[in-house]
Subunit: 139 residues, 3 copies
């Protein structure tokens, strides 16, 4: 058993951008030389999240659209009254989707479905450099 840490650096285009990080995650698991285990995908920061989705142009619009029904940008946020940074909705969306995801791998392969990709979801209102930590544990 061993722990291997890898980092994925991506630059988002701003609010509602969804970035496919499946390839980087899969490669990191292969490079770790571990055969069976789990990889925890974790985004540092409070205005982005990670999940899985079928990564295609339609859902890249539908998923953020759902988030904007739940936490519209135009309504009042207490966060805004105190900090005036215009991203109250970004924070609550990120906390709802969540910063972490744990995926098993077997014989070096992630157990994802064919139409299931790992994505970073940018909720912040501007371009951000994002750091995703991949903590790989296995044997």
């Amino acid at each position: 058993m061993a722990v291997v840490t890898k980092t994925v650096q991506v630059r988002s285009k701003g609010q509602d951008d969804m970035i496919d990080i499946t390839e980087q995650t899969s490669r990191a698991v292969k490079e770790s030389k571990l055969r069976d285990g789990i990889v925890t995908v974790f985004v540092s920061g409070s205005t982005a999240a990670v999940t899985t989705i079928e990564y295609e142009p339609g859902l890249k619009q539908d998923f953020p659209k759902m988030l904007s029904r739940i936490a519209p940008g135009e309504i009042e946020y207490e966060h805004q009254k105190m900090w005036h940074d215009g991203n109250g909705h970004s924070h609550v969306r990120a906390s709802l989707v969540g910063p972490s995801l744990t995926i098993p791998f077997k014989e070096g392969d992630l157990v994802l479905g064919t139409w299931q990709q790992i994505v970073l979801v940018e909720m912040d209102t501007r371009q951000r450099d994002r750091k995703v930590i991949l903590q790989i544990i296995g044997e």
Copy 2:
């Protein structure tokens, strides 16, 4: 320390079906002979999710009802315009709830509350055979 992989196969009845997989998960942990560790419960596929809930007939209706307020089946989805498979809402619901759940165990027992069961939530519009991977890591 060791890694043990188990698989749970279930057949869902279609959209909004919630299947209690606590018993299978608990048994898999016992069969692994590991005493202390974590089990990652992961569903392959992009139109189902896993979470915990008090598994009783009322909430089995209330939870999907909440999802249908967030992502109604009747509204327009870009996914639908491109793929015509009628399950845009299924995808966004599944990505929101998420495909993975990690549960600690101590002395061979999952640390669940008495009224807290592990469930697979079917979001797709039809019956599906679902594969849930249990990755058990511990000592």
Copy 3:
């Protein structure tokens, strides 16, 4: 590689209370003497959840307010018709946010962002004593 279990006990003030448990989690990781690995933060019970958020007074109101738009307390729940305990909305909110969170640590430090705290979110309608299990795995 080793597994170390720690428990955090907190008393919530009732519905919508958010409790910062970052300090306890961080200390537990340090006390484990493990340098690299993951900590799974898991709340036992079906009416509370864990996530990360920028822990400041504004968002402590905004996040529960979002949950009350998704699952209002005043609408009908099937759970209520059967159990009459007035917390149908608590259950569906908790299942949506989820009971578990897994965070990597490196050289003894959690890889959280500066403005990203670990929180227990109380969804139940009354004060509750909450037990959060920290399962720390690493080397």
